[in-house]
Amino acid sequence: MRHSLFVYDDDDRMVDKMAAFLCSGLADRERAVAVLDQRKWERLADALGSDADKTLYIERDSFYTRPEAALAGYDGTLRRLARDDASAIRVFAELPACETDAQWNQWLAYEAIVNRALEHHPVWITCGYDAREVPGPLLDGAFDTHPEVLTEGWGPCPHYHEPEDAVRSRTPTPAPLAGLRELPLDGSPRGFRNALSAELEAAAVSELEARNMLVAAAEVFANGQRHGGETMSVQVGRVGDRFVCEVSDDGPGIDDPLVGFLPPRPGHANGAGLWVARQLSRQLELVPSPQGATVRLWV
């Protein structure tokens, strides 16, 4: 895959450059995708002319709901296009407008993750950053997370960092939570599910969230039993209007900040459980602990 950055500050330049990018992507068996807000898509579609019909348009804000969903969205879209015989895919996309630095950091971490998560797809993604909308310091983050940049022509981006470093530096360290309770375990996966299920019900968690938490937490628990140490412990409870489940083991710990962010691939056995856990929970956090790993799930 190629993952490129395109910074612009007027629409005409965006339309000019990106129509060319997508049109030349529409050779035989190649496909184009645009993930933009409605207004920018209409401008671009005008310039694309009849090629617009051949471009898959996805509305930006419904696609970029959260990083985990966007990764699954891209992976699924690219898999389906490839299944339907696309030989290569070009994507022009813009992130949603963020209100806080925390939100921007989350999406910039996502940009870093994309480099690993979609590396096996025959895709060239160009991310548009509208300098009129994105605060300056955060624009620097875009240069950290894209290996390639479009200026007059396409070229390597000198500020690019390894995704793991970029994700670490943008992921806040989760603080300890008070008030969680120890979940009684009998060592069996079913015993764990039954105990967690009782807690979710007692905490009046909605049916959908309870179901998602049950599956997500069971995957984290399974992961701990497989890769972790001898002893597992689980803490649960309500925190505000959310429900939290923390699974701890005394194994070697989890060092990889991208764990669970990489879509499952045929022939790659590891990591699918935590992928599922990230997909189904509101948030998965790796909590620092003196020994082993602690994974915190929120619904």
Partner: protein
Amino acid sequence: MAFQGSAAFAVTVRPGEHVCCHFEHADDRERLAVAFVRDGLRRGDKVVYLFDGDDAAGLVSRLDRLDPDFAPAMARGQFEVRRARDAYIPDGRFEADRILAALREEHHRAPAEGYNGLSVTGEMPIATPELPGGEQLGAYEARVGSHVDGASVLCQYDHGRFGPGLMSDVIEAHEVEASPELAAIGRDGELAAARDRGNDALRLAGELDFGCAQTLSEVLDAHFHGPLRLDLADLSYVDVAGMRALRGRKGQRLIISPASDVVRRLLALLGWDTDPEIELLEKG
């Protein structure tokens, strides 16, 4: 097996089916029979258990320990344990017509008595093949389905006692078969397996997690080669390790039809929805 209430046992029998459980270990059939009785009672069926042996009290007390609902159901007459010999071979003869007539009458009586239907499970007496008419077992079983259409019937056969020829006739006469080679899958209680003979599918019911994935994977490896058709409509829970266990050798084609919502969701999360080796059919 650790103590578990009947609520923990998965059941592969669907309402209105005629199912054969042929077993080598009594525990394997008892798990299925108990789950069958539990489901029948919950549906509001009249449930009859035909028991082959002299210690009916022993059976009843085992059932009682497994499920607190069984004793009250017996007390109110919804659940009956009867001697299988009285039903199948009352005078030392196996007469298909006589048994079918009794079964049919029971089937008609159930709604008249206010039940939603009839569930019958019978342990075929091991003496049957040696008795006059015993050779008719296969022919008898072939008629059961049409005689009591709509009733749920679970036939229990001690696999080693009926001879291979007779056993294969008997199996042939059932829509669904729980066989000894599948029994290992069910020994945790939470997952159960049977062959849907009509659709040539392996049916899994209950909860498939990393605790039972290994056993499932071993059974599939040993007994299922070539394209594998799976009926996963009754899987109420599945995790990643469990889904992985369904994939045997590389290149083995999977046809999943039908699938429960939990299976569909996980399949999509794993990206198997675009896997060329996996076919997910909407309807069975």
